[in-house]
Every structure is written in C-alpha cells, then in structure tokens.
Symmetry: C2
Subunit: 365 residues, 2 copies
C-alpha cells in the first residue's frame, strides 16, 4: 500500500513538475455602461434598458448597443446593480459538511429549485466548525443574498434568529425549529432512531451501541432519543444503550469507534451498533471488518441517511433513508416564497424517514 506522504509541488525526483511561463497581466479597468453608451451613441438609460427591459428598446437601437457591448467586452457590475436595485439573485446554502454526500444531495435539490426560479446558488461549507459558520453568516448577510438555507451546528444560535429580523430570510434545513423566525424542513429524526433500534431489537439484539457525536448537533441527539424511546417501548431501560461519542460525523471517526468496539472483550461487546450517520457506519464497518469481526454475525450495523455509498459498502449497509433532494427542494421553495410572497407564513415541514434493510443487519438470507 502506498505511503501517505503528500507529493511535493516542487520539481523533485518523484516526477512532480512546476513549469513557469513568463507573461504579464494587463488588467485594464473594465468598460461600464457609460463607455457602452458612448460607443453606441445612446444614453445611459437606454443601455440599462437593453440590459433590463430589452422589449422597450427599438430593435435597431438594441442591436447597436449589443454590438458596442460585445466589442468593449462589457460585463455588468453586479455590485453596482445590486446596490441600486436592492435585490440579489443569489441563494446560499450553508452546509454542515460538504464532504458528506447527504448534504450534496440536499444541495442538488436546492439548486434545481433555485434554477427553476432563475436564481443561482452559492454553496458554503461550515465543516462542523462554529467559527466558520459564523463567518459565513456574516459574509452572506453583508452580501445581501436573497436568502440563506442552513443546516446549523447549533440551531439555538442567536445569530440565526437575528438574520430574518434584519431582512435576510433563513430556512433551516434538516432541523425542525419552532421559534417563529424561520421556516424549517426536517426529517423526523426521533422516529428514525426508533425505527433503527426497533429493527435491531426485533432481530434479537440486546447489547446495542449508539455511535454519534458531538452532542451539540441536534440530529445526533434526536436519533439517540429515538433509540432510547424504542428501548423503552420494548420494556428495556434506555440506559442499556451503550453510547460511544464521536468528535464528528466522519468516516475517520467511525473507524476510531470501530477500534474501540473491537477492543472490547466479546462478552461485553455490543452485538449491534446504530450510527448517527452513514459515514460513521462505513468507517465503523471498515475498521471492524479489517480487525476480523464479521458483520452482521459478530456485529450488526445500522447507518443513517442511506447515501449512495451505503449500498456499495463492504457489507451493504442497512440504513435509515431520508428524502434528500426533496428536503433541499422544499427548503428552497419555502425560501423563495418567503422572499417574494408578502403573505408568507412560516412553516415547519417534517418528512418521514424509512428503514432500508440490507446485509449489514439481515445477513445474506
């Protein structure tokens, strides 16, 4: 297996090369509407009309202006447009972790809906880091984007609730929230956790672990609560749930959890693990398999999200499926409504998750 050391960018023995070309930049000041107007022999207002209301300009004038634009390489200055017109054509989705396919699928739904409405989407990645989240929120507010979609790290952040009052609509994605300030679109995570554990209980498991963290993330807590509730319903004390808290919802953390689990003596080791998301589950699975545990015989695993890779895993993963794209699309539609409909009322939409059973719990019957 290859070494993990990073290739160097310098022209070294490993074949990496760096080729330099000499060529100076010649950045001249861009031509504006004024220059276009002069070149086309019309007024500023007419150029603006060509840009914004072409139908009111006579075809011949329009052609002259368009020719002038092309020959000068005119590029509209969006800052100036936005400053004057007061409106932005941009939506932002601030993701919790761009490396998690769950969120990129949500983003796809957002983009589809935005595109249909003629808007563009900027994606931002907080990477589960509260500072970065805060920085991006400030930036987006300063940019006066049309609205912000966010899967927050901490949905109680005061920053979040201040935004709508100051004029930037915010829709919370993948979290239910009920402060009257935002719309939210979520999946019932408590129910999801319940489904997962009920399934494991039905298969006869008794020593069950819950792998997830950090506990600042709402999804992690809700899914755990669902797990506990399932135990309670089955007449078992919820304290029976063996909790393994991770530092993030990543494959690497999942591998770490696998290390810990596999290290336990077989008699105390759980016979099943429910992970707060598929990344953790995949990492856990990979580590356990490589340490010689059989899945599901020695350890059954349930993931969460049902990302595309779950089905392609070493042992196809049982997982709790969420309507990812629909989540994003619905959120974007709510945001659009909020920013265009004066009678908008905040909504809290909750979808229902669904258990997808595969080999990692059922075996290959």
């Amino acid at each position: 297996m290859a070494a993990d050391s990073a290739p160097s960018p310098l022209p070294e023995g490993d074949g990496t090369s760096r080729v330099t070309a000499r060529r100076r930049k010649a950045r001249r000041r861009a031509a504006g509407v004024k220059a276009v107007a002069a070149a086309a022999g019309v007024s500023l207002g007419t150029v603006s009309n060509v840009l914004n209301r072409p139908e009111v300009v006579s075809p011949v004038t329009r052609a002259k202006v368009e020719a002038a634009m092309a020959s000068l390489g005119f590029v509209r200055n969006e800052s100036a447009r936005q400053l004057r017109a007061g409106s932005s054509r941009i939506l932002a989705y601030l993701m919790l972790d761009a490396g998690n396919p769950f969120f990129t699928d949500v983003a796809k739904g957002v983009e589809d809906a935005a595109r249909e409405a003629g808007l563009s989407v900027f994606l931002c990645n907080s990477n589960e880091d509260a500072d970065r989240e805060a920085d991006y929120l400030d930036l987006l507010e300063q940019q006066r984007v049309q609205g912000i979609l966010i899967t927050p790290i901490d949905q109680n952040s005061s920053r979040l609730s201040k935004l709508p009052a100051r004029g930037t609509p915010v829709v919370v994605v993948d979290r239910a929230i009920d402060d009257g300030e935002h719309c939210s679109v979520a999946v019932n995570d408590v129910l999801g956790g319940e489904l997962a554990i009920a399934h494991l209980l039905e298969l006869g498991h008794d020593r069950i672990a819950y792998v997830g963290g950090p506990n600042t993330i709402g999804q992690v807590l809700d899914r755990r609560d669902g797990a506990r509730r399932a135990l309670r319903k089955a007449g078992k004390p919820p304290e029976n749930l063996i909790e393994i808290t991770t530092g993030a919802l990543t494959v690497a953390e999942g591998r770490g959890a696998g290390q810990r689990l596999a290290g336990l003596p077989a008699a105390r080791r759980p016979t099943a693990a429910f992970c707060a998301n598929d990344l953790l589950a995949l990492g856990l699975l990979q580590q356990c398999v490589s340490l010689g545990l059989r899945v599901p015989e020695d350890l059954a695993i349930v993931g969460y999200d049902d990302i595309e890779f779950a089905a392609a895993a070493a042992v196809p993963l049982t997982s709790v499926r969420q309507p990812r794209q629909l989540l994003g699309r619905t959120a974007a539609e709510l945001l659009l409504d909020e920013s265009s409909n004066p009678d908008h009322e905040h909504q809290r939409v909750t979808f229902t998750p669904e258990l997808v059973v595969r080999t990692s719990t059922r075996g290959t019957l």
Copy 2:
C-alpha cells in the same frame, strides 16, 4: 427494501407533516453608515474608519460608534463596499461534480488556503453541465470575485480564456493547460492510466475494459490515453482496450456499465476493468457483485481518485491516488499570488499519481 417513491410534503397518511405559523415579516430598510454616524454624533468618515482602520480612531469615539452600530443592528453593505473599494474578499471554486468526494476534498484544500489568507470561498457546482458552468462563470465575473478556480468541463472553452484578460484571474484545477492565460494544477492523468493498466497486465490480464465518459472531459481522455500507452509499451495493440463510454462519471453510470459487462458471454467478457473514476468503479463493482460476478476472480477492477469510500467498498478498491487537498491548496495559492503579486508568472504544476493496490485486483492473499 423500501419503495423509491418520494415522500410527499403534505400532511398525509405517511406521517409527513406541515405546520404553519402566522407571523408577518417586518422588513425595514437596514441602517447604513449614515444612520450610525448620526446616532453616534460623528461623521461618515469616522464610521468608515472604525470599520476599516480602527486604530486611527480614538478609543472613546470608537466605543460610541460601536455602540451605535450594535443598537441599530448595522450590517455593512458589501455591494457598496466593493463598488467603491473595488476589491472582493471572495474566491469561487466551480466544481465539476459536488457529489463526487474527490472534488469536495479538493475544495477543502482550497478553503484552508483561502482562510489562511483571510478570504472566503463560494462553491459552485456545474454538475457536468456546460450551460450551468457558463451561467456560473458569467455570474462570478459580474460579481467581480477575486478569482475563480475551476475544474472545467471543456478546457478549451473560449469563455475561460476571456476571463483573465478582463480582470478575473482563473486557475484551472485538475487539468493541465498551457495557453498562457491561466495557471493550472493537475495530476498526470496519462501516467495514472498507465499505472493502472500496467498493474493489470502484470497480473496477467489480457481482455481489459476502459470505462469512462463522456469524451468531452479531459481527464477521461488522458486516462484512456495512458491506458493505451501501457498496452503499447507491453507490445499489445492499443485497440485491444474494450471501451465502454458512459454518460457521466457517476455511480449510477457505473452500475449501467456493470449491467453491460455482466451481460456479455464469459468468453468475450473482459477479465479486468479500469474505470475513469472511483464513482464509476463503485457502481460497476456493486452491480457486478449483485449479478453474481466475483471480484477480482471474474472481474478485476481499478478505480481512480482513491476517495475515502474506495477503501470501504464491497471489495476494497484498487485505485489511483491523487493528492486531493494539496491540489486545491496549491491552486488557491497560485490564484492568490496572481491577484496580489504584480510579478506573477503563470505556472503549470503537475503532481504525480500513485497506485494503491487493494483486494479488487489483488484478491485476499
């Protein structure tokens, strides 16, 4: 297994719910520097100084201004700032496919480098769609971002070469380009293809398939060329390579290719497949396994990128590894240099890929 039908957002029998709250928005016009100046009893210039050069303002005045800002909920208008100051604090990375972990890893490198320089990154997703790519390029140019990092669909697009001349620096990521207009950061894809095929030849394979497409994507072509070159070096005619062209570099297309491959009579079926990326490889793998082919006994598979999921696959995937984060970081650094260093010279940086051998070709020896 669960049905694929999308849950409905309406309050129906499936438990999905939609809760409405009545509450009207009260969007007042935001307070500007002028209002802050009036409230603090100072001039506009002083407020601006507090914002941009706090050290030149006396502590007592600064405190007054900051208090006024806080009480009025002042949010700087970035459009106006940028219009006047002429500079943006934003970098954009226009990705080929945000759903591909390879690109989100590259994005991580970009963000790290940008953050160190005090800039923010907006991610855009062309999703292998030329129209979307064009739209985003227009938008970003109009926004006057500091610079654009892009993994293009077609690196010969005239749009791409026009941007730098008009003042927006562009760095091409994951493609080598030599038109004197951009920096580029790439990995030697021809070599990568060669490594993959050389490995398969060494294992004794003779009927080898190349799975990739569409052929407008440079990476797809280079890797294929590398594959052919390896065959030539081994004294075999490059036409021996069985080409399966896909419509995109996705898991779904990989499954489609698997369907086609598995349908062939065993005597004509390739004994090994080299896929243009790991998503294709994972899809291919999943489909072949579910159709009863054994990997690597019936079909050996080599992927490309070595994304995190490759190692966790049904059969751990042999893959060609690229320095993903370093790619992004280097690109961002080149972009920063271009936009700040008047003596900048365009560079073409090429990294060297590395074969990572796992079970999907080697078996479990």
